[in-house]
Symmetry: D2
Subunit: 276 residues, 4 copies
């Protein structure tokens, strides 16, 4: 790879640390820190989300996730609560003091989303939505850039380059599985992508074992593999009742299973020399 | 496939015909008609584009193509002339009387693009940009919806469903090759996708052998395969000087080679009972 | 591609013609000839096979196919009649005067298979079974080498090189679909592989739309695409009763549907200047 | 998955332990043991191999690897020393007291290979060479069955079923990366395949990060991911001088780098409760 990306390219041993100020203390991603981001696929209602947010804070997660605008393959699927979802996220942020990340789908929504969220997520299907990348770059908000499910690592880093080139240095990459011929899992986690990104780029990189596998029972082992391979964090879907979830229930953990995973992963990351 | 799409689903023998009014006569896609859409990857300048447009009209093409807004993997590549490109397309339409198609990348650009173009193209990278699909649906303009390079046929038809569900029945599908492990060609044309789409849906479907193969020498045989397999048309990249092109030169034909292909394809389509 | 294959490489305009002597007249593959190879996936019984063979001869096919040794994903599936199947093939050859092709799985079977068959087939799963390739090369019998379902074109030509390097120049390549993420079809026919092979190699290349699509209703359009793209022939699964077949029934045509396809394909090939 | 495999299927919590008697003590794979198999891609010469074998024993590896018969994409590549290679392996076994694994390509070679090796390896390209699988099953020797580079997990377990159905219960599965669109790495390690196999089958499963990534610098992180995800062992390519290797040099570690990896992996496996 002759590195067609410039700003995303690693020049020396120093990696970028993305810092997210929050009431409970600034959260750092990269630079030896290990973060866990958790929450449901979509924000489905105010009571359930706030209760889950408090529970996740208690467990120790660093960032809350929850979708307000959901990209859905079918126009007839639940597409999120929209503005109402954003308000619920803002309330969860107030109550827990934790930063919040949510996906943005449309350049016209960025301002509203940025008012409620601490990090903007660009999803897999929009990884090459170049208008969105540039606008997210201009927003100045930290960004989690998911790898397109059929994007090469080079294309992924070039997508990051769009954000960086628009003046926003705060980009976190997220490996969430690629599309292959294997159908037993929803996607195939490209575990080697983590050290490859570390070699090629200074940007932090996290793993999403929930989308990566599509199966709740595989989230724990793949999360542990993510720690071992050197990821800077994890993004995990947790739902108060996975079997009732309006989306992604099959890959969501309940709070109890998540708490066990969190404890195991934290200990492992600390042994690997990470600050958690 | 239990057909999660509804409006895109074939109910009977009748296929949809998309009609595009134009000064030189209405162009029909589907319903036994066979169309050839041709032009360069990007509009690069006024003189060259207008000269090429006149030449293509002379050869017999039905619709002119040309990119004004180009989605590029790298932020440092030529991304099209933007508004200036749209004006050149409008001028080509005036001079030739042919309808014009161009890609739209951003929901905020639709109005301007729709003022200059007769068909809107949604490109492969935006096939699951659901905001764009819905807005393009609301625009009322005929749409060419390219298959995502890693989209299943079902996902592609669900993307069409977004446009149809927004009230726009004029959708033309375009198979342009999928991403596989084979690297000799830029993509792998999924030739069977044409009869599959015909079986599942009433929408017309065309083939783009230029992006599908990424190699000029393969465009002619794959275009012929497209006619034989039952496609309703072809979209082909033609450049007045492929070796000077700012993008996609390797897969572009010069006007001479294109004229030979056009004659061969027209005769073949007519033998297959199509109106060309 | 810098052509790591030597003997398989095209040096000039001349293509190889593989010639198979038979009672009804020598069959030529390549060099402007167009052949149709047809028969069931597996030889299931003597009466049914002989009746079908006579019917196929009447329709006009050039070579009969039928599996005696079947590679099956599961050890519990019907794996062919073995030696009994070979004898049935030999009898069909006597009765029809047509040459016969069957698959060989094991280097130890080559002698017996070669005694009953005019062409040896190396199947997709064995494309990189290098012992088998070398032995088939030493056998001196014409060989149909199917592309591995995940082999690049370069790997396929290198597999042919093994046979050629063992002293056997009579190799016919067969594109039979590759494995991709798309699940609606059993495989994805790589239609552009035909002109790519023609450009890189002097060996004849045919298409198998039955395995390529896995669906009977797609065989006709993809067979026509094969003619249009420049293939030297077709290999098609025909069964006297597809719904009773012990294997591959879903992708097999009955004799009536096949006769219609044959007539259409012959006319098309002749218009393309081929001798059929 | 409705489990078309029977003998390979997990029925209860108990996993199979494959036991390999050796002068230095029986080696166990599965059942809570963690093994490291190491050695060069191919046995290239007697002195170098024996020196490396002694070094690997000193480091602590449990099984030596080395190819005598190498499956090579091109007929012109170095294909191993054949019988001479087998004799070198037998000598290494004598000198170190460690068991030895080597690949078998041809059913006719099994007897000779089995006389020199303690485990037979069936390689990725032969995973669906059903004659070979059955013969290896009849040999009674423990087998390492590598996943085909484009095989689904179900097909892989069905290949194991062939060996088990032939009467050989001693099968170790090896994930070695699958073929995807990503070209930066040689293959994409399907890390989730390990817990999937553990869920579906009682057979032990190991990981080969050398073939899985094709890059020496990625072997350590992916090996650690393999431990974390629950693999029963690792197979790693080590060469006394990677840059002089006749094959796979790019993905081979030198003894020094391997010793560091071994120490790290052993400690990690022990913390995970494995006997190493």
């Amino acid at each position: 790879m002759d590195r067609p990306f410039v700003l995303a390219s690693r020049k020396d041993g120093q990696g970028t640390t993305v810092s997210i100020p929050a009431a409970e203390g600034t959260v750092h991603i990269g630079g030896g820190h290990f973060v866990v981001i958790a929450g449901p696929c979509a924000v489905e209602g105010v009571e359930a989300y706030l209760a889950l947010a408090r529970r996740l804070k208690q467990i120790g997660v660093h960032v809350l996730r929850g979708g307000a605008f959901k990209p859905r393959t079918s126009p007839y699927s639940f597409a999120g609560l929209g503005l109402e979802g954003l308000e619920i996220l803002a309330e969860a942020r107030r109550q827990t003091g934790l930063p919040v990340v949510t996906e943005v789908l449309d350049p016209r929504d960025i301002e509203q989303v940025a008012a409620c969220a601490d990090l903007l997520q660009v999803g897999s299907r929009n990884m090459q939505n170049f208008s969105l990348l540039s606008e997210v770059g201009r927003s100045g908000k930290p960004v989690i850039l998911k790898r397109g499910f059929s994007a090469t690592i080079e294309e992924w880093l070039l997508a990051a380059e769009y954000i960086l080139a628009a003046g926003n240095p705060q980009v976190v990459l997220c490996e969430r599985g690629i599309r292959t011929f294997e159908t037993y899992t929803r996607n195939t986690v490209d575990i080697a992508a983590v050290p490859v990104v570390k070699e090629l780029s200074h940007l932090p990189v996290i793993i999403d074992p929930s989308h990566g596998t599509g199966r709740a029972e595989l989230v724990r082992p793949v999360a542990k593999a993510g720690v071992a391979v050197g990821a800077d964090g994890l993004m995990i879907e947790v739902h108060h009742c996975p079997s009732c979830a309006l989306s992604d229930g099959q890959q969501s953990l309940d709070p109890l299973a998540f708490a066990a995973l969190f404890a195991e992963v934290r200990e492992m990351a600390q042994r690997e020399g990470r600050r958690v």
